[in-house]
Symmetry: C2
Subunit: 268 residues, 2 copies
């Protein structure tokens, strides 16, 4: 069985000092440096692979300090505090002497409780009825995802005509790969910067901070398998060089797997 390109990209080698060495992967290249989602997944993988890890990811925040340079990097994941059922992690990615990403994560042993999904999956046509996008962005990482846009795809004409930042897409790894926490973290960053959709105008952008809340259990990930996810993303405010965007990812059965938020730098 050959290795999926995502597993190649997030592979980490343990170092004697407890840190990990990874390497940027050309298959997940963005305009400048790697796709932020793959960096988030690499950072989370430093926690997931850690021999001291307790439980599964509940939350992850990564802050992108600078575009990674193509080449090796070091992930440092430290269990800052371990409680009975929760564990707090600090994460840092370095290249040479420079810190290129800071972050934190919480893992927990989760137990079955009362629960409800308050945010319903929006009514959308099923994946089989949604045509592929008219426009494909040229970045390499975009080819790593099958994306079927229901609404709010990249503008075909950049004429400043946008009026809403809402996007809804069916999305999954390309080629398909059974969903796990690392790939879910990566897909959480798959939505194009909302400013492109809202303004239909190209401006320089870069995610500054990304937070992922994992609602999915390992059983729900297994049930999702290689199926499509319905992703929804929308901004709340664009102001003085930064905008936020909030997103949700449901599986085809309508289970809300992730809610995720980010704040993004934009110029002009």
């Amino acid at each position: 069985m050959s290795t999926h390109v995502f597993d190649e990209a997030i592979a980490l080698q343990a170092q004697p000092d407890g840190s990990w060495t990874g390497h940027t992967h050309p298959a997940y290249a963005n305009m400048v440096g790697p796709f932020g989602g793959i960096t988030a997944a690499q950072a989370l993988n430093g926690v997931l692979q850690h021999p001291e890890r307790l439980g599964d990811p509940v939350s992850l925040t990564v802050n992108f300090c600078a575009a990674l340079t193509d080449g090796p990097f070091t992930v440092m994941a430290r269990a800052a505090r371990t409680n009975r059922s929760t564990q707090h992690w600090t994460i840092e990615i370095q290249q040479g002497d420079a810190i290129v990403m800071t972050g934190t994560a919480v893992t927990a042993v989760r137990r079955e409780t009362w629960g409800v999904d308050e945010e319903p999956m929006p009514l959308c046509p099923p994946p089989a009825e949604v045509p592929p996008p008219q426009v494909m962005a040229p970045m390499e990482f975009v080819k790593r995802y099958e994306q079927l846009p229901v609404t709010g795809q990249l503008p075909a004409v950049w004429d400043g005509s946008g009026h809403s930042s809402l996007t809804q897409i069916w999305v999954r790894d390309n080629p398909p790969r059974p969903l796990d926490f690392a790939s879910l973290a990566c897909i959480s960053d798959v939505f194009f910067p909302r400013v492109f959709i809202r303004r239909a105008t190209h401006v320089p952008v870069g995610t500054v901070s990304l937070t992922v809340y994992f609602h999915a259990s390992t059983e729900q990930l297994a049930q999702t398998g290689t199926g499509y996810l319905l992703g929804q993303a929308q901004a709340q405010a664009f102001r003085n060089g930064f905008f936020d965007q909030s997103s949700q990812l449901w599986n085809e059965a309508g289970v809300l797997l992730v809610t995720t938020h980010q704040i993004v730098y934009y110029k002009q």
Copy 2:
């Protein structure tokens, strides 16, 4: 002029090693340990007061590792990376040898750009027309806020009858205090745990991770002054011991000052 109790609570003393010493304040006590919002504000204040700080807060994430014990604590805020107009901070709060909070923040020199508020302020009656809450939670910190509930206040009867977690309130410091980034961080955590509203059932809860995105400029904070903020909070998913809640804070003029998210532990 006497000092506002909030300023007393977030006061930090610089230490020779670059860290800060603070002290929990009885006025902001929660059920167990201090109100998470005041801890977030104390953490942010370690950045705000830092001599190396560049620009204003754009994002803040704090992770609550354990309830703080009443008494002194140490805030360590470190500029992990300083770029031309953005700066990345790592933050830790310690008591004795134990880490009780981890966090990160981003500050930036913000420049005027195109902008729009996509999430409109909900239509609500003005503060003068909203009666005070029927029920006041007994925690001390609750008295530090004037809260006028428009919808989704604490249940008068805990009979399991809830059906939506939506809350809308007018809120401001009590006594009034001109809004700044630290108090905005604190107020971002003012909303009761959504599980109380949704279930009308008392269960043990604790915020695990809180993220605040600051959209407000210093000018907009000055314009807001001691006016009311309209706060809105709602959960997206309750599952296996954790739920998320997303909130917004607008000033009376309808400017979206903050969007904020948290994930909260609950039992049963």
